[in-house]
């Protein structure tokens, strides 16, 4: 899990200070704090709760309502490994495992350096290219243990 650094806390306090007197400030505050930290863990929500004098339950309610907010950190790049039937039988699962091993990240998680978030998806409709993988907006065909790291090395 990514630590909230002292510098980040300072920025968070600055944001809270700026919005303190403004009604309806919660969502912009959350948006800006997420910009600073990359996500909104409980400790950040608690700080905002005290700063804006809004119950933590209300803040948690808002964070979980809007799809823009996340309570787990997201990486700079998103890897989606297709585990549709075609990709599965062609080695999609092995590819997923090799990414997990190489970067020490679980499916649904993010690497410690925030470089990658890893997800598996149901069929992306590229069965003819199986096994397929999508990194950000780019789709890769016939991914294998041999070429997968070379591909991912292109994403810093």
């Amino acid at each position: 899990m990514k630590k909230i650094t002292l510098k980040m806390w300072k920025k968070i306090d600055g944001i809270i200070q700026r919005y303190k007197e403004k009604s309806g400030a919660l969502i912009p505050v959350l948006e800006e704090c997420q910009d600073v930290c990359g996500y909104l863990p409980m400790e950040v929500q608690e700080r905002i709760s005290r700063g804006l004098n809004i119950p933590g339950s209300t803040i948690y309610g808002v964070v979980t309502f809007y799809s823009f907010f996340t309570m787990v950190p997201k990486g700079r790049h998103t890897i989606k490994v297709c585990l549709g039937t075609a990709c599965y039988v062609r080695g999609g699962k092995a590819n997923l495992e090799s990414i997990q091993d190489e970067f020490g990240v679980e499916t649904g998680g993010t690497t410690g350096d925030l470089r990658f978030s890893l997800d598996s998806v149901r069929c992306i409709g590229a069965c003819g290219m199986a096994p397929a993988m999508v990194v950000d907006d780019d789709t890769y065909a016939q991914v294998s243990k041999q070429n997968i790291m070379k591909t991912l090395n292109g994403y810093k």
């Binding site: 009604s23 959350l30 309610g61 809007y66 799809s67 039937t85 075609a86 003819g128």
Partner: protein, 625 residues
């Protein structure tokens, strides 16, 4: 220049007359050229920025900067052709540009005065005949541009460009020349109705808010465009943000509000950037803030970024979201005109509605009311997409038959396929079948078919689209976006989705259609807000017009369009298969067997219906039944 008064506004406008005349093709000044390069989100995604930079550099290098100006517009209306450029005064339209094309454009077009034939638009409906001038292309010549009038004509990041094209003239008239009653009266005469989907008369909405008691009132702009595939509002904001700001100033004057908000989804960074620039520039000119144009009227506004919730397009949810809470709708009454944001009287209008207002005030309500049908006035912008040759934004007068939009503007259906239906109104709308294609774009006429005008999504479907599958797609969308506050929407959409899914998976039972209809009526009648009240429309309209497809899925366990995977089988046509072995090699699950040069076979037990074999077969020997 700092704060300006009305005379100075007119002065800026008259200074720009020559510039606009060139772009309208009216005057020729010593070979002066304006290269208007499209720069909306779709253009940027198609890498228009390197083209823009390359052409600027080349023009500078060749010493043409004096007579050739490169201007980035917000135009991405004909999205499939991006990046595009229009060169004025001749109005020549170049498409699919790359930085490598820049040299030809500069040396051939700008220096030698010759067309670069290979970069011209080619009309796919007329043997790929090149059409040099933008306004001769049927896609454009059949449109009527009011909302999108500045699409290719101005730099959205330069307020002077907008002023050259009459920006803030309507506001000046509203603030200085006419009374608030007259503003509302003109909007009423224009007959304009809310372009966000529901179609409520804008003039009436304003009148209610004007009559409401209270010193503090608000004007809100709904830019939370959430229908999948719709991008009308994004384009307006990216191409002509001042039209929206001006519309809000006029609305504010009409109801006597002094503060406004634009609720824009965070997924539209370019729109937010251009709005921010527009607001800063308007403030510098004193077109926002205290004493606008010396009229004594104060109004300012802020952008509020939505955080990703479809339901926040609903008016009460949007206001509750601005208040910093979970964006869940509340019952009406009280209506926002009485009790809206922070419990104060509030007017909420959609981007497209507001963008029309300055023109209505400037030219008078009668002028607008002359366009359209008896009850639907003016123009409507649609995002035309799906199985149609030309897809993109189209603005047409109300009353145009759907047929004309699909064929004259859209160019018809690709690959000579049969049109099956036109889906209008996104997840709240419905499918209009091909035999009702004479239906005109009119709120009541479209509602009569079981669809709704909606915000402007228009998806063309052909024989390869399964209507049950389409209904399932939209149902899934509504179910995921249901906020969960009221039971009919939360539970009803879920149950409906389960039944439709079951039908597409071949597990449908004969009573399912009746159950769906019963559930749909309940969800429609008893849901709290527009999301739930319209969510059953895609299912209801497809049952109404394509009941036979539902029955085929349920009774015959057959998907007539060959879409629903559980109901189709892949077979190899023996007469056509030479046994080349290609399909066998690409099959990801080894379902295909057969010796070389002998007819192959597909094992239906193993086949996952991925289609890889069809794509690989050169002999059309694989069919779906």
């Amino acid at each position: 220049m700092g704060r300006i008064n009305r005379d100075q506004l007119n002065e800026i406008k008259s200074r720009g007359k020559g510039i606009i005349d060139i772009r309208l093709g009216k005057t020729l000044v010593d070979g002066e050229k304006h290269l208007m390069i499209g720069g909306g989100t779709a253009c940027h995604a198609s890498r228009s920025e390197p083209v823009r930079d390359a052409i600027k550099k080349e023009i500078k290098k060749r010493g043409l900067s004096q007579r050739c100006k490169v201007i980035e517009t917000g135009n991405d209306s004909f999205a499939t052709l991006a990046p595009v450029m229009v060169i004025y005064p001749e109005g020549v339209y170049y498409v699919h540009l790359t930085p490598d094309d820049v040299d030809d454009i500069v040396s051939q077009h700008l220096i030698d005065g010759k067309l670069v034939e290979r970069l011209l638009y080619k009309d796919a409906t007329d043997n790929d005949k090149p059409i040099p001038r933008m306004m001769d292309i049927p896609y454009f010549s059949n449109q009527t541009l009011i909302t999108l009038r500045n699409l290719t004509l101005i730099d959205p990041e330069n307020i002077d460009d907008a002023i050259y094209r009459d920006a803030y003239q309507g506001a000046a008239k509203a603030l200085i020349d006419i009374t608030t009653e007259e503003i509302i009266n003109q909007v009423k005469i224009s007959g304009i109705r809310g372009r966000g989907g529901a179609g409520f008369p804008t003039g009436m909405k304003w009148q209610f808010a004007a009559q409401a008691e209270g010193d503090i009132k608000y004007v809100l702009c709904n830019a939370d465009e959430g229908d999948p595939g719709a991008f009308m509002d994004r384009s307006v904001l990216e191409a002509d943000p001042h039209a929206v700001l001006e519309g809000m100033i006029i609305a504010a004057k009409a109801i006597n509000a002094h503060q406004g908000y634009i609720y824009c989804r965070a997924e539209y960074p370019l729109a937010i950037k251009r709005l921010t620039i527009a607001i800063e520039q308007a403030r510098r000119y004193g077109l926002l803030g205290k004493d606008i144009l010396g009229s004594g009227f104060d109004f300012d506004l802020e952008i509020y970024q939505g955080a990703g919730a479809f339901v926040c397009g609903e008016e009460t949810a949007l206001m509750i979201s601005i208040e910093g809470k979970r964006g869940m709708p509340r019952p009406r009454p009280p209506f926002p005109a009485q009790e809206g944001l922070w419990k104060k009287p509030t007017v909420l209008n959609n981007v497209e509605t507001l963008a029309n207002i300055p023109q209505i005030i400037l030219n008078g309500g009668q002028w607008y009311a002359a366009i359209g049908t008896e009850r639907s006035k003016g123009t409507k912008v649609f995002a035309l997409a799906g199985k149609v040759i030309n897809s993109g934004l189209v603005e047409v007068p109300m009353g145009m038959p759907l047929k004309n939009i699909v064929y004259d503007i859209g160019g018809g259906i690709p690959e000579n396929k049969q049109l099956k239906a036109v889906q209008i109104g996104g997840p709240s709308g419905g499918c209009i079948p091909s035999d009702l294609l004479d239906t005109v774009t009119d709120y009541e006429a479209i509602t009569g078919t079981g669809a709704i005008m909606g915000s402007g999504g228009m998806v063309v479907m052909d024989e390869d689209n399964c209507m049950v599958d389409i209904a399932r797609f939209f149902m899934e969308f509504c179910q995921e976006e249901s906020c969960g506050k009221c039971t009919p929407c939360r539970e009803g959409t879920k149950r409906m989705l389960e039944i439709v899914t079951k039908i597409t998976e071949g597990r449908g039972e004969i009573d399912d259609i009746a159950t769906l209809e019963e559930l749909a009526d309940m969800v429609k009648d008893s849901s709290l807000c527009g999301l739930g009240q319209t969510a059953p429309n895609p299912v209801l309209s497809t049952i109404r017009h394509f009941r036979d497809e539902y029955e085929a899925h349920i009774k015959d366990k057959r998907c007539p369009a060959h879409v629903c995977k559980a109901l189709i089988t892949y077979i190899i046509v023996e007469e056509k298969c030479p046994g080349c072995g290609k399909c066998k090699r690409v099959c990801p699950v080894e379902a295909i067997t057969g010796e070389k040069k002998v007819v192959h076979k597909i094992d239906p037990e193993k086949c996952i219906k991925c289609g890889a074999c069809i794509a690989s077969c050169k002999f059309d020997a694989i069919e779906v039944v």
